[in-house]
């Protein structure tokens, strides 16, 4: 058998801090064969990114390789393999490897590129560093690579700045930068986590194609088992700095051995889940109060929807550049109508920038719609939210609460848990200090956190725990409706299952209604009853969950469904189908769905509860 491209043996990495040292990677060994893809899977904190940084020797200052070898055999040279772990990280030999033979792409394509330099500058820089080429030659080569990675106008890309590009194109620029030197090994650290599903599928496809062309090896670091199932030849599962299980993709998905891996596989929401089937989080949240409430809970009497949005529209005006006075109008939300059933969950799905967050903010009355209205019914009849004043408005504020996406920035780091949980009560002058204290303890119980955490600060909690704190805070005022804006997209899979289950339990126990905004269809599928799909400010399709997945009509919905990588190797992504960008531009949708500029079309009910947006002309013909 061939010598592997990179052979990691007994790699140990320690973080040295004032408080003592911490072993981030503990004696791991694996091989990266030539022209194959190895996936390194694990939760955050498992040491997978640290391993990648060690291979490039760009570890943070406090981290040190304290043992093991990293033998790199360059396929283009006859030299014996080099031990990367023994090289000087800033030395000439290491710098020649870094970027030249081993290249890396990162998770966040916005922050990974410098906003002050053009994409062309940053891409050619890599080539000029490692090859004897002139600036003009480098530019020529860059144009070729830009064309290869799918830039619509490769020459223009040379003089484009990163912030002028969409997330997907930015990641393509990163890939161009990594591949321009034709490296032997590409390390991709969560390359698609920050992208929309459809874009993710395209980027993954691109990496696969490029690998087939150049025979490079890929080390893919990810927490998404769906991505692994579609990309990897070999899989290495890491947990707390150790390898739990390693093997071929077949072995890992068909015959998982280690309990951790099995648990991880069970924690991912899948499309083929039976109705009522629960995810099994790795660490289950336990709450006595919730359990007892669950037993006493009775289904909410369904008398009309609790929230109704009618024909909401919102436009933004942008000035397109500092020096030009040109104005552009963006239709962020275009005639959106929604209805949230009492005690039910409405899932709102769409790519970033489709207007879903704007909708939730208008419902919360943080933004005023240009036209249309939001009706809230607390049992006494529907009232227009944007007309409410005084006491009625305060009551609405209590009834509708928000759960945010980022559990790190949505909690004030200077406030203790007690202050965070009781602040809503103080603002609304509810209860005496003693009652508030009791309420805070009860809230902690509900979300399965220790009552003794009241005096702690948010930074001492993990991401999942913080998100549970955010939920507890939203529950403090006993709301009827929770608006959840991507509440699990910043969390690990294992923690995601835990939070999703918690939300489900809370809904059953407290009779809450959720508007659940997400870009992840599998997650929405797990939690929602009805799903509305949004694209470019329009609702394009709306249906009960089962119907939507059984019979998606709209081309955009179909693309969205096809793009979700399933952690099941028998159901690979259909990359060919997702190649074009056509499904996110309303003017390119096939008839009868096409919406030309200025056209809004109309929703048509094709079966009970299942509505699709069609061109108005088509509707008239039908009538």
């Amino acid at each position: 058998m061939d010598v592997p491209l990179l052979s990691v043996r007994d790699l140990t990495i320690d973080f040295v801090a004032d408080a003592g040292s911490f072993r981030a990677v503990d004696g791991i060994s694996f091989d990266i064969p030539r022209a194959r893809t190895v996936a390194l899977v694990g939760e955050s904190g498992s040491g997978k990114s640290v391993t990648a940084q060690a291979i490039l020797r760009i570890l943070p200052k406090v981290a040190r390789i304290t043992g093991g070898t990293l033998l790199f055999q360059d396929p283009t040279s006859r030299q014996p393999p080099v031990d990367i772990a023994r090289l000087d990280p800033d030395g000439k030999a290491m710098r020649a490897l870094r970027g030249g033979r081993i290249a890396m792409i990162f998770q966040e394509p916005m922050t990974s590129l410098s906003p002050l330099h053009t994409v062309g500058d940053q891409v050619t820089e890599a080539l000029i560093l490692h090859r004897e080429v002139s600036a003009a030659e480098a530019k020529e080569r860059a144009v070729e690579v830009f064309a290869r990675v799918g830039f619509p106008d490769p020459r223009r890309a040379l003089v484009t700045y990163p912030f002028e590009l969409s997330g997907g194109l930015r990641q393509r620029a990163m890939i161009a930068m990594a591949l321009i030197t034709q490296p032997a090994l590409l390390i991709a650290d969560e390359p698609t986590t920050a992208l929309d599903v459809t874009t993710q599928a395209q980027i993954l496809d691109l990496i696969r194609e490029l690998q087939a062309e150049t025979h490079m090896s890929v080390l893919l670091i990810t927490h998404d088992l769906g991505v692994v199932a579609n990309m990897a030849d070999e899989v290495v599962v890491m947990y707390r700095g150790r390898i739990m299980e390693a093997g071929s993709r077949e072995d890992i998905f068909r015959r998982p051995q280690h309990p951790y891996l099995r648990a991880l596989l069970r924690a991912v929401p899948r499309f083929d889940m039976k109705p009522g089937e629960r995810l099994t989080p790795i660490r289950e949240v336990k709450s006595d109060i919730l359990a007892s409430r669950l037993q006493r809970a009775k289904p909410a009497e369904a008398n009309g929807p609790v929230l109704v949005a009618e024909n909401l529209c919102k436009t933004y005006t942008l000035r397109s550049g500092w020096f030009s006075g040109k104005m552009r109008t963006i239709h962020a939300v275009n005639g959106v109508s929604l209805s949230l059933a009492r005690g039910g969950t409405l899932g709102l799905v769409g790519e970033s920038g489709c207007g879903k967050t704007t909708v939730s903010k208008m419902i919360m009355r943080a933004l005023t719609p240009d036209s249309g209205r939001v009706l809230y019914d607390d049992g006494s009849g529907p009232r227009d939210v944007h007309q409410l004043e005084g006491e009625a408005l305060k009551a609405y504020r209590r009834a509708v609460q928000f759960v945010f996406q980022d559990p790190f920035s949505s909690l004030n780091p200077r406030m203790t848990v007690y202050e965070i949980l009781t602040e809503p009560l103080r603002i609304h002058r509810i209860g005496t200090p003693d009652e508030r204290f009791e309420r805070a303890k009860q809230l902690l119980d509900m979300v399965g956190l220790d009552r003794r955490s009241l005096r702690r600060y948010p930074h001492s909690f993990s991401g999942g725990q913080r998100q549970r704190l955010g939920i507890a805070r939203a529950l403090a005022l006993e709301p009827r409706v929770l608006l959840c804006d991507e509440p699990v997209s910043a969390l690990d899979v294992s923690v995601q299952a835990q939070v999703l289950n918690l939300l489900k339990d809370l809904q059953a126990a407290l009779g809450l209604s959720y508007l659940f905004v997400s870009h992840n269809l599998a997650v929405v599928d797990y939690i929602a009853d009805t799903i509305a799909v949004m694209s470019r400010g329009y609702i394009v399709e709306e249906a009960p969950k089962a119907t939507l997945f059984r019979n998606p009509i709209h081309p955009y919905t179909q693309a969205l469904l096809a793009a979700v990588p399933d952690p099941d190797i028998d159901r690979p992504l259909d990359f060919a189908k997702l190649k074009t960008d056509r499904f996110s531009d309303p003017a390119l949708w096939p008839e009868p769905f096409r919406l030309r500029a200025g056209e809004t079309g109309a929703m048509m009910e094709i079966e009970p509860g299942h509505k699709v947006r069609l061109t108005s002309v088509t509707l008239k013909e039908a009538a």
């Binding site: 760009i58 710098r95 912030f163 500092w322």
Partner: protein, 340 residues
Amino acid sequence: MIRYLARRLFTMAVTLLIISALVFFIIKLPPGDFLTNQIAELRAQGEAASAAKAEFLIKQYGLDKPVWEQYLVWLGVWPGPQGFSGLLQGNWGWSFEFDKPVAEVVGDALWLTLLVNLAVVIFVHLVSIPIAIYSAIRQYSVGDYLATFVGYLGLATPNFLLALILLFYSNRWFGVSIGGLYDPQYANEPWSWGKVQSLLAHLVVPTLVIGFAGTAAMIRRMRANLLDELGKQYYVTAKAKGLPPMKALLKYPFRMSLNPFIADIGNLLPHLVSGSVLVSLVLSLPTVGPLLLGALKTQDQFLAGFILMFVAVLTVVGMLISDLLLAWLDPRIRLGGEAR
């Protein structure tokens, strides 16, 4: 671009107009003016002849007119005793204290001030940027602590005290005469090579003194900015490309960390004129700062008014320059608005 500039120039003009009104009326707020005070004094001493001359000046400059009329005449949009003759026509008025036109009083002082302070600015940047880069990449090293310590010393030492000490030793060791910007022998001489040399020798002490505190502050800010940028992902990307550490640092994080300083240029320019009054007094530098102080104290209205207006013009122009520079250096500002 041209529309933007036109808009900016228009708002600048409006701003300056408002500032000029404020300046004039605030100078006029205390009762009386330079001449009436002088007349009262002369009358008390029984020198009626001088008093008569002063009263002639009052007529000449219209100090007996209402304040708003004086303001408009000063501005040059209202006919005064000599017709339209004010700031807009380039007539900066008469300094009663020096009994000379303002232009003559201020003349040399203006550009000497600019020279001293320009030297200070260059000194500050030359010294503090390398030190800041060093202490940012070697955070918590001995060198970093040393730079921090010296920086705090610089911030805490009273300028005038340092000025006196340095004056004393430069006189003792290098024979540089005390005070002023050149040796007394050149005071009323025309410019010659010897005078320039003397000027350069005398520049050292004020530059060091005025620059010391500024350097300390700049090191602290630059270090903090750089440390923020060093943690950013794009710097990791640059290193992952295989760039040598120093090149990566200068091309990416350093350039990002410059932004706040460019935005500061607007504040820097007026500071050049009015920032170092105390030190200028102690070192008896012939700069604008002490002149302004004196003019304000004696209500020498045209002199004070002109200096204040000059500072205002510098501020407004400085802001424009820093905005244009920022746009030139930072594409996000130049092309932004579309993004996100």
